[in-house]
Amino acid sequence: MQYIIDACTVINLLHIDEDEFLLKNLQKLEFSICKEVYDEINKNVFKKLQKITPYPKERHKEIEIKLNYFRLCIHRDESYKDLDEEVSELLNYSKKNGEYQSMLLSFYLNTFNRTRVIFYTDDSPAQKKFIPYLQHHKIGYIEDSVDLLITLYRHNDGFSTTDLKRFLSLLYHEYASEISALEKLLQNFEIPKSEIRNSEFSEMVSRLRYSINKLELEVVAKLYSQVKERRNKYSSIFEVLIKFSDFFRSNISSDFLIKINQHIEFVDSRPFYKF
């Protein structure tokens, strides 16, 4: 089995792994990341909510050391890029982002190393888009950070149920704290006097408030894209949303949040098998 990890998953691991515990456990798995994914991690790892609260400076060094480990996991042999044209057409996908590069590597490793692949990503649209292809061509599976944590727990003796609950809880906190901050800013947002005749503007604010309160994260992400596309028209609300651009980039679904909580409960109610 070959493991490939996406940027959002690595960033989460870097943030929740305060004492390198996860990193040490992760080293026992054979996993790869694409160069583009590494660059994405490097670019975004300190950006989390940076416009609201700066990422703690004292933790920069610690994260940089951990990043070195992920640098060693970059799949240096770029032969997999030779499949670009073929796979791009097969997947009907034109973006050359990290998720796509990871898919390209999955196809390559499965085809030439004859190994099944698990691609870890929390990106909901990427999951929806690529799962059918991985299944149809018998390449492998897509799993998320929750699945990865459970795998690490199951295959490492020193990884206790308390550790598992702690990391799942930290993972939930990573996303939930951003949702809560976003919801509060949207609820407290006052429509500027200059926009009171702009019914499209107030409708956008109302839709955003309504959707975040119902935890319709996919709808909120779509509305964010609309605001971003017409940022001049929606400038004051865009200034609020842009603070959460990394959260929107992570593209997580409401179901994923529910899944994290459900699996925290499963640790006690339906324990995961461990030999």
Binding site: S177, S180, Q187, N188
Partner: protein, 371 residues
């Protein structure tokens, strides 16, 4: 000037977020909720037992506003006079959401304690207070820190540095003469120290009758990690256990994307739940309540009482009823937003009074898509 000329109002009364300045904070309408808080605070002043109250409602239902209003010295003084006791000591904090919630909680509370003023208020009672501190609890170190808190001989800035954990070597040397030989520990000392200080503040009811700790955004306990959620529960439980008398804690809880009142049991420990004495619900307001609210709010903003007789001016009752009907069942903040927008529009169009025809022409801007 336009609000004054057009509407006989000081400014637009319909604000979305509560005012900060104490003079601007008024209570309009909703007499039942007001009475509930009033009687809860009065009871806390008169009855010694400490208690915990939950305030529950949607975003914009008025919980933070209630905290600001009942935190006003004039309001607390009025309730105290009624109860025939001294004023309560009021502390308002927001639930910390970071990775060290207990440290943040403690720091936020210490930030609000005016040490210089408190020392001055308790100056004449200092000997009695020290004897009292000796009687409460068995932790000599905590007692020494509490005594130092009220001790005028210890420089305030030095002592604050100690409380914040940033004392230097010279500070530590000075404090060791007062029996303080180590730093405070978040897990074991913070709640104990605050409890002793709270108990001192209400000693014999001489200066303060009780302590009111009002915690806003408590729903964010749902986004804390399990460990930090447990720590927050323990901290509050210890605070209540170690301050058995004269402490009233209000917890503001908002129905949010990640928190519903039905889930409360998941986040609040049994030990803490058993200490909840009451729940004050901020329900979605009904038409008669809103009409009363609007008339009282307008009255508070009116400049000259004599110029207009209509209590709803610049609106009228029929128009308000129609707007409320169009808005449907919504929070007070949505109502404020709609009426505030209508007033702003009329001000820019220099339209007064605001009638049905004007509202209809601007309905899309006022009502919006969905509230």
């Amino acid at each position: 000037m336009s609000y004054q000329e057009l509407f006989n109002l000081k400014s637009n009364p319909f604000r979305l977020t509560p005012a900060i300045s104490s003079q601007e904070i008024i209570w309009a309408g909703f007499p039942i909720i007001k009475d509930k808080f009033h009687s809860r605070i009065k009871r806390a002043i008169k009855v010694p037992n400490s208690s915990l109250i939950l305030n529950w409602g949607e975003y914009g239902s008025g919980k933070t506003h209630a905290a600001r209003y009942f935190g006003k010295e004039s309001v607390l003084a009025e309730i105290s006079v009624e109860a025939g006791e001294k004023i309560p000591y009021f502390i308002f904090v927001t639930l910390p959401k970071g990775k060290s919630p207990i440290e943040d909680f403690y720091t936020n509370i210490v930030d609000k304690l005016d040490i210089a003023n408190l020392r001055a208020s308790f100056d004449l009672l200092n000997t009695e207070l020290n004897n009292y501190i000796d009687l409460i609890g068995d932790n000599v170190f905590i007692k020494n820190v509490a005594k130092a808190f009220f001790n005028n001989d210890i420089e305030e800035n030095l002592f604050r540095r100690y409380l914040y954990g940033s004392a230097n070597a010279a500070d530590n040397r000075a404090l060791s003469n007062h029996g303080i030989q180590r730093v405070l520990n978040a897990d074991t000392d913070y709640s104990k120290l605050l409890s002793v200080i709270f108990s001192c503040l209400t000693y014999k009811g001489s200066v303060y009758s009780s302590v009111i700790l009002w915690i806003d955004e408590f729903e964010d306990i749902a986004i804390l990690t399990k460990v930090n959620g447990d720590k927050t529960n323990s901290f509050l439980r210890e605070l209540l256990d170690n301050t058995p008398n004269n402490l009233l804690i209000f917890l503001n809880l908002t129905q949010s994307a990640l928190f519903n009142i039905e889930d409360l049991g998941e986040y609040i420990s049994e030990a803490l739940k058993s200490r909840i004495k009451d729940r004050i619900n901020f329900e979605l307001p009904k038409e008669p309540e809103i009409l009363k609210y609007v008339s009282e709010l307008l009255k508070a903003y009116i400049i000259d009482d004599l110029t207009e007789s209509d209590i709803y001016f610049p609106f009228n009752e029929a128009l308000l009823s129609q707007i409320l009907k169009d808005l449907g069942n919504v929070s007070l903040r949505s109502i404020n937003e709609a009426l505030g927008t209508l007033v702003d529009l009329a001000e820019s169009d220099r339209k007064t009074p605001i009638d049905f025809e004007y509202y209809t022409a601007n309905k899309t801007d006022v009502i919006g898509w969905k509230n």
